[in-house]
């Protein structure tokens, strides 16, 4: 399988952005729920998928999934679980973020670029949230009662991911968003 230099480099830099956002806590937004802060760690995978296609989206998602695994596997939720459970909950769902974002963007970009970017941001976020929570609840790691408490976080993540995706990709590709220039 041949992957271009562009795909490799863009995936690497986007992954570096995700790591910096994680370790500086800038990628974590406080929301009024009891579970966790809202996060935008998945947004580089979305932007990678939208800008450079499914390969970059998958590459960023793959390494993001590995990072997520090592970051969260130590949490008490997984303390009594077999070793394959955190792999299925923390790693596997992340693989689809970039690919779903690319698919949604590709389906809509000819209609309206801005709407396509926003939809890609929302779709990628929903993929992450639904699959992670779905696996966690299905495998008994978390109770189903967590869903209403995770809703504020999920909604906020979708909105912020859509904003960042539109802002970054529109600025990079010089797409006219209709809001004019500040210069």
């Amino acid at each position: 399988m041949r992957i271009s230099t562009r795909s490799i480099v863009v995936a690497g830099l986007l992954l570096a952005v995700a790591i910096v956002l994680a370790v500086t806590r800038l990628g974590y937004f406080p929301v009024p729920n009891v579970t966790d802060d809202a996060t935008i760690m998945h947004v580089p995978a979305i932007i990678g998928g939208v800008l450079e296609g499914p390969v970059v989206g998958l590459l960023v998602s793959l390494v993001f999934g590995i990072n997520a695994y090592f970051r969260y596997v130590g949490l008490p939720f997984f303390a009594g679980q077999p070793a394959w459970v955190p792999v299925l909950v923390l790693f596997v769902p992340r693989l689809f973020i970039g690919i779903v974002a690319w698919l949604v963007y590709r389906a809509l970009h000819k209609t309206n670029q801005v709407v396509a970017l926003a939809a890609a941001g929302v779709a990628g976020t929903l993929t992450n949230t639904i699959l992670v929570l779905g696996f966690a609840i299905g495998l008994g790691v978390l109770p189903a009662a967590i869903i209403p408490t995770a809703l504020p976080q999920a909604i906020f993540e979708m909105v912020v991911a859509a904003i960042i995706t539109v802002a970054v990709v529109a600025a990079w590709k010089q797409i006219d968003t209709g809001r004019g220039s500040s210069v």
Binding site: V23, T24, L75, P86, V160
Partner: protein, 287 residues
């Protein structure tokens, strides 16, 4: 001024050359040992053996002449969220496992031996993984790490897995983490000098957090993409191209010490898995 000093807390991705024996080990030996220890920490449920393995990591850090405090600094950015999760687990996990000794019960709060066990195990695992990843990146340069990952994953090339590309993506990411952190510091200072807000955590105003952080995050992405374009031009100008016929200037050569280290770590992990470790509460009277 400390809110601008982001690099202080980023230990992942930074290489600290001290010339120790750990630094001189083959990167493949270090990677295999890290994977083995990661598997051990993920699957072992005894607090005693997790604590003993962390002691081993402390000894390795001492041998590598890496200051322990420097590694533990990597915990600081996430400590608030971790404490919150652990407190929730402490109070509510007791209802999940109703059997076992109850230490405290009031209304909906229940602290049992099991909830304490889950918390302590969680803390040990978080510290263990931080040490593992930090030790690996602090004692191995990015290029050696990439070569090591690529060599170990080479057999997967036969099934079409892009081994070289994944290793290079990792290397580029690790190489640029400190650079982008510096860039972020510059952006924060630029925003602050223009009276932009850069801090604050109010859970009831996530819109405010978004308004203060998005002017930092979006320029960071654009800066990363600009650097990506420069790197692409630099690599293509030097005729870089991935493929099965790539050769390397640096050839990894393992020695007997690397074999001893890998076998030793695997032996320790097997011993940890196969030994019937006593529960910690049997060792602590009154628990």
């Amino acid at each position: 001024m400390s809110e601008f000093e982001l690099l202080r807390n980023i230990t992942i991705g930074q290489y600290m050359p001290t010339g120790s024996i750990v630094h001189r080990l083959d990167p493949r030996a270090k990677l295999l040992s890290t994977l083995c220890l990661a598997a051990a920490f993920s699957s072992l449920r005894s607090i005693l053996v997790n604590a003993l393995l962390i002691l081993l990591l402390l000894l390795i850090a001492k041998g590598a002449r890496i200051p322990i405090r420097y590694i533990l600094r990597g915990l600081l950015p996430g400590i608030g969220a971790l404490l919150f999760i652990f407190v929730l687990q402490l109070f509510f996990q007791g209802w999940r496992e109703p059997s076992g000794q109850v230490y405290f019960e009031w209304e909906f709060i229940r602290i049992t031996r099991y909830s304490l066990y889950v918390i302590v195990l969680g803390v040990l695992r978080v510290v263990a993984f931080l040490f593992l990843i930090s030790l690996l990146t602090l004692t191995t340069s990015s290029s050696h790490l990439m070569h090591g990952i690529e060599t170990l994953l080479a057999p997967l090339r036969r099934i079409g897995f892009p081994v070289h590309e994944v290793a290079l993506v990792n290397m580029i990411a690790l190489r640029f983490v400190p650079t982008l952190a510096e860039e972020l510091e510059r952006i924060m200072k630029a925003q602050a000098s223009r009276c932009g807000e850069i801090g604050g955590r109010n859970i009831w105003r996530p819109d405010k957090a978004a308004r203060t952080r998005l002017p930092l995050i979006i320029p960071l992405f654009l800066s990363a993409l600009r650097r990506a374009e420069d790197l692409i031009v630099a690599m293509e100008a030097r005729c870089y191209g991935s493929g099965t016929n790539r050769t390397k200037f640096v050839q990894l050569k393992g020695g007997w010490l690397d074999g001893v280290v890998v076998v030793g770590i695997i032996g320790i992990c097997l011993l940890a898995w196969l030994t019937p470790w006593p529960s910690i509460h049997r060792l602590l009277p009154g628990m």
